[in-house]
């Protein structure tokens, strides 16, 4: 992060500002600079100057002040101008600042700006220091260590069906390791259902030092949160670039709902903190669910997908898919991301082909490694068949378990196909609908999978709920935010209570827990659809203006979702 911490204040005189912003004259007040054109005060100062406020650095005597270069300035003005200006006044620059300015200057003098350079400039405004982040991380680690030190709490937590599923529970990993040690095969029996490579990795780690395991789980959470932080930073930067691009189709009437930097600058930190201190995540980490690895790979995938690197994107996607199969629905999203954020200029079909090929390469590489470790074809397919055939009807917070407990035998396979299709089928229409918003697409698909997969747990929801603030600029269009959020929180609290009533106290029956888990799934689905609707609506208003008018008359129009 060191590079991003370079201060972006440059000294400039008022006379330097005037040509940049194409105004007639500028006046420096105590804490801001006002620009004037044709003797009229500008109602909206150019967006780049929104942030000029630095009374300490203001020196009215020699008529120099500190100008904050905002990337938005670069769009409003030609980049060349800015660089020339800054270059002429760069005598007093520190070395780092000079480097930065030289970088800018070496750009081609078109209005197109390399995202990476922009990124340098934007993230400068991120005021959260590394020290601050380190503090949060150490707090999160301490919290986890404190919980790890309470074995009774941990064993209670891991016995909850919402936290650990047969696919991800730590008991199964330990059982799998002991079966491996005895020379048995983990694929024949019911002892372990996760992936082969994970088990081998875990058994190596445990041989080395059991303490390392705890460290491993805490580290995974931290890596995930940092990946989410980077992901959110990059995404917001990219969205800002998109929105403030001079040649986009954004309505002039929609200024009030545009993203702005000050509004979004805390979002990345919020997302990463939400992941670190989310009770869902903490429960998953403390009960040592292997789900944490899938979450980490997904977060790394999100982060990599914005970098325009097809290799790292598909690597993390392949890892996540290898772990839990369902992330395969993100393949389209990965291709679309690559298309959108590529550094080269491939067509969409080339991007898709490239992404698919890379993904298949990584996945087959993982399969080969798994096969080399355990020379049986089951080492590849056994955990997939467990995910797809759903033989274990242990309760969880999903829709599968009670349905397949109760469904009539001869409809079993039919409904199995329907339910599994239901998880993956949304990937195609959503990919078409959200083809220009691949990040939103990834988010929605991760959410759908988390809600409807065969063995979901709270940790799955923990990931996408943490990313939710990324869409905070669209939240004014949510229709039932209060209802759904209360529904989610209530059911998350009620589930363990119902579980205890059914299994512990035996005063309730299966329906109690089933009802709360069903309501939990419903809440997730409702939140997802609501967020998606809000995002689409926000985009519509961005293009059509906040108060769109009818074409025929000048009347205010109603907005409806119609065929």
């Amino acid at each position: 992060m060191g590079k991003q911490r370079i201060k972006n204040y440059v000294n400039a005189s008022l006379s330097d500002v005037i040509p940049i912003f194409n105004c007639d004259y500028a006046r420096a007040d105590n804490d801001k600079v006002s620009l004037y054109k044709d003797q009229e005060s500008l109602s909206d100062p150019p967006s780049g100057l929104n942030f000029i406020s630095n009374p300490a650095g203001f020196d009215s005597n020699n008529s120099k002040f500190k100008l904050e270069i905002s990337p938005l300035t670069l769009f409003e003005k030609s980049l060349k101008d800015v660089c020339q200006t800054t270059n002429t006044i760069s005598d007093e620059f520190t070395e780092a600042e000079q480097v930065q300015c030289r970088d800018v200057y070496t750009l081609p003098s078109t209005s197109y700006v390399e995202p990476d350079i922009l990124y340098l400039l934007i993230s400068v405004q991120n005021k959260h220091s590394a020290v601050e982040m380190l503090l949060y991380i150490s707090l999160a680690v301490l919290l986890r260590a404190w919980l790890f030190a309470a074995p009774e709490f941990v064993s209670w937590l891991s016995s909850l069906p919402e936290v650990s599923t047969p696919l991800s529970s730590w008991h199964r990993v330990v059982e799998g390791i002991s079966v491996l040690k005895q020379g048995g095969s983990i694929h024949e029996g019911d002892s372990y259902h996760g992936s082969t490579l994970l088990l081998i990795f875990m058994s190596r780690l445990q041989e080395y030092s059991p303490l390392l395991l705890y460290l491993m789980f805490a580290t995974c959470d931290i890596v995930t949160s940092l990946a989410l932080l980077r992901f959110a930073e990059k995404f917001i930067r990219n969205e800002l670039i998109d929105i403030y691009k001079p040649d986009n189709d954004i309505s002039s009437q929609s200024k009030s709902i545009k993203l702005n930097e000050s509004g979004m600058k805390d979002i990345p930190l919020l997302i990463s903190l939400l992941y670190l201190f989310n009770p869902f995540t903490i429960a998953t980490c403390v009960s040592k669910c292997t789900l944490i690895f899938s979450n980490m790979f997904l977060a790394l995938f999100l982060n990599a997908s914005l970098s325009g690197s097809v290799f790292s994107t598909t690597l993390f996607l392949a890892l996540a898919t290898y772990e839990s199969l369902y992330p395969i629905v993100l393949l389209f999203a990965a291709a679309l991301c690559y298309y959108k954020y590529q550094k080269t200029s491939w067509t969409i079909y080339t991007c898709m082909l490239l992404t698919t090929l890379c993904f298949l390469m990584w996945l087959s590489l993982l399969f080969v490694i798994a096969y080399l470790h355990d020379e049986s074809p089951e080492s590849i397919v056994s955990h997939y068949s467990f995910i797809l055939r759903v033989p274990d009807q242990t309760p969880n917070v999903g829709v599968f378990w009670y349905f397949f407990t109760e469904v009539f035998d001869h409809f079993q396979s039919f409904f199995l196909c329907v339910f599994q299709l239901n998880v993956i089928v949304f990937s195609i229409p959503m990919s078409i609908k959200l083809r220009s918003h691949p990040v939103c697409l990834s988010f929605i698909l991760i959410g759908i999978v988390a809600a409807l997969k065969s063995y979901p747990s709270l940790g799955d929801a923990g990931l996408w709920l943490s990313i939710l603030p990324l869409w905070s600029h669209t939240f004014k269009y949510l229709r039932m935010a209060i209802v759904t959020s209360i529904m989610l929180i209530t059911t998350a609290i009620v589930c363990p209570v119902m579980w205890n009533l059914w299994i512990g106290a035996r005063s309730a029956n299966a329906n109690f827990f089933f009802a709360s888990s069903l309501a939990y799934t419903t809440a997730q689905v409702l939140i997802l659809t609501d967020v998606l609707l809000a995002y689409l609506k926000w985009h519509y208003h961005l293009r059509e203006g906040v108060c769109p008018k009818l074409e025929t008359s000048n009347e205010k129009a109603m907005i409806r979702l119609l065929n």
Binding site: G184, E188, I448, K537, A557, M558, L562
Partner: protein, 553 residues
């Protein structure tokens, strides 16, 4: 001419009878023993042996039951052991039985080595046997069937000398009750049925008044007398073990065969070569009529010498102060621990001998109890961890195979050893639950196998190995609500429909601008309905007002 023919037939018949008798041999015996002054233990044993030339493939049956012989041929069976038991043999108080058996039904079969598809034969045989004995043995499916590695070795001789346990199948049904309907076909397999000899005492209604009742059927290949095993015969052993509690039957000071079985003992079955009744009573009691012959502490009555139905009485039993007879071998008691979904299985194995005894511990845990072998602990009461000499653990598979645990443990002298492991209860679909689901499921008994030499005991059947069975443990599994499959299907499908509908809407529809005056057709209709309703109501009110006005005027 006709007379001559008849004579010829009679001659042939007798010739066949003689040759058959030369190959076949049938022995029957009843052993009555007193476990303590209140408990009588009866052991009926019926053994048929049959010499054969090369291969057991008879076409004519004489003493050997045809119905069973045909099954054995058809399913290529080398060795068969089948028991059905009601009640629990109390090893600690009663000592070791002559043929031990677990509660419920137990079946284990060694197939011949040339069997192509062992599993297919096994399924076919269990179904056929369930037909033969009117028992639910067809429930011994793949989820119950196991192949023990070392616990159940062949009792008889093995072709080729080496055993290959891929040809072994073992299954138990602990919930299976022993009823009269099982007993009747079992008795029909006897050459004389319940017409003669000790078999005549088998009165089903009385047998079921016992504390413990077990029927068994064993088929095996054995060496004929004389050192080298050149000539072999097949052996069919049928036995019944029964334990009567005299106090509950109100037979305390004196009892007799008549009072126990409500039948008199009949003369020997004429087909038998040996037919005896052996009685042993505790000190102080007398047998009447007095039996003169005596073998190994038992008074023996040779039923071949019996001319008519008779009764044997035992008199002068004294009510004991304290029961003193205690087992000096190995006993095993298993129980469950844990609450909720987490459970623990503990077996406390007691070695009463003052020397170390190696045992084989064998436990089959059904698939719906997810066993955690990493929690397996063998600890002696002195808190010394005993590491098993050998462990074999096969994890179960959902709906397909149970968890199988087999280990060799050396029990320290005079010790109590606790063997424990944890499991998590699994869940079953509503149709997998048996009727009366809240009754629970049985975990089949733990089997401890020891050598009889180690225990210093002798037994009548299969003398070299002693199986010690523990209790069949009842475990409760969380049940779904059986009354609402439709509700669940509807509710879940509704949620899926909501999710599908919403996403479908969002994926296929676009935002359109509408004039605020332009209302949707549905809403328009709804509004017009309200309007009509309002106007009608108003009209009614107006009319009533008008009518009242008219009246008043």
């Amino acid at each position: 001419m006709q007379k001559n023919m008849l004579g010829l037939f009679v001659l042939i018949y007798f010739a066949m009878f003689c040759t058959c008798n030369g190959n076949e041999n049938y022995e029957e015996s009843l052993k009555l023993d007193m476990i303590d002054p209140e408990l009588v233990y009866g052991f009926f044993n019926f053994t048929t042996t049959w010499n054969y030339e090369h291969w057991f493939a008879p076409r004519h049956y004489k003493l050997f039951p045809r119905s069973l012989g045909q099954l054995i041929q058809k399913y290529n069976i080398a060795e068969l052991h089948f028991t059905m038991t009601q009640g629990l043999w109390r090893y600690k108080r009663w000592g070791f039985p002559d043929a031990s058996s677990p509660t419920g039904a137990q079946l284990w079969v060694w197939f011949h080595k040339n069997t192509e598809d062992v599993d297919k034969n096994w399924v076919g045989f269990t179904n056929a046997l369930s037909g033969l004995f009117c028992a639910s043995l067809n429930f011994i499916n793949k989820a119950v069937t196991v192949t023990p590695k070392i616990s159940f070795r062949p009792v008889g001789v093995v072709e080729g000398g080496e055993t290959d346990n891929t040809f072994l199948r073992y299954g138990t049904l602990s919930r299976e009750n022993l009823c009269t309907e099982n007993l009747t076909p079992w008795m029909k397999l006897l050459p004389c049925g319940s017409k003669a000899g000790p078999g005549a005492l088998l009165n089903p209604s009385q047998l079921h008044h016992s504390k413990f009742l077990s029927i068994g059927l064993h088929f095996l290949h054995d060496c004929s007398e004389g050192g080298s095993c050149e000539r072999r015969h097949v052996k069919l052993e049928q036995h019944i073990s029964v334990v009567y509690d005299l106090r509950t039957l109100n037979l305390m000071p004196n009892f007799s065969l008549l009072s126990l079985f409500k039948k008199r003992v009949k003369p020997a079955c004429p087909l038998s070569s040996r037919s005896v009744l052996m009685v042993r009573v505790i000190e102080g009691a007398t047998i009447s009529p007095a039996l003169t012959e005596s073998v190994g502490g038992f008074s023996v009555l040779n039923l071949h010498r019996l001319k008519s139905d008779s009764n044997v009485q035992v008199k002068g039993l004294k009510t004991p102060g304290v029961t003193t007879k205690l087992n000096h071998g190995v006993t095993n008691h298993c129980y469950l621990t844990g609450i909720g979904l987490e459970g623990g299985f503990v077996c406390s194995i007691v070695n009463h001998n003052n020397r170390e005894i190696p045992i084989i511990f064998f436990q089959v845990v059904p698939w719906f109890l997810h066993t955690q072998v990493h929690t397996l602990k063998v600890v002696s009461r002195q808190n010394d961890i005993i590491s098993p000499a050998w462990i074999s653990y096969t994890p179960g598979k959902i709906r397909e195979s149970p968890n199988i645990m087999e280990l060799i443990v050396r029990l320290p002298s005079d010790s109590i050893t606790e063997l424990s492991f944890h499991f998590t209860k699994g869940f079953m679909t509503w149709i997998e639950h048996p009727p009366d689901a809240n009754h629970g499921f049985y975990i089949s008994p733990a089997v401890i196998t020891t050598k009889t030499n180690d225990l210093n005991i002798s037994k009548e059947l299969h003398g070299s190995v002693q199986h010690i069975y523990s209790e069949a443990i009842l475990v409760n599994i969380p049940v779904p609500d059986f009354s609402m499959p439709y509700n669940v299907i509807c509710l879940v499908c509704t949620v899926l429909a909501i999710s599908f509908g919403s996403f479908h809407n969002l994926a296929t529809r676009r935002f359109h601008k509408l004039s605020p005056n332009e209302v949707s057709p549905v809403k328009k209709k709804f509004l017009s309905l309200i309007e009509r309703f309002k106007s009608r109501k108003k009209k009614n009110v107006d009319e009533s007002l008008a009518s009242t006005a008219e009246k008043s005027s």
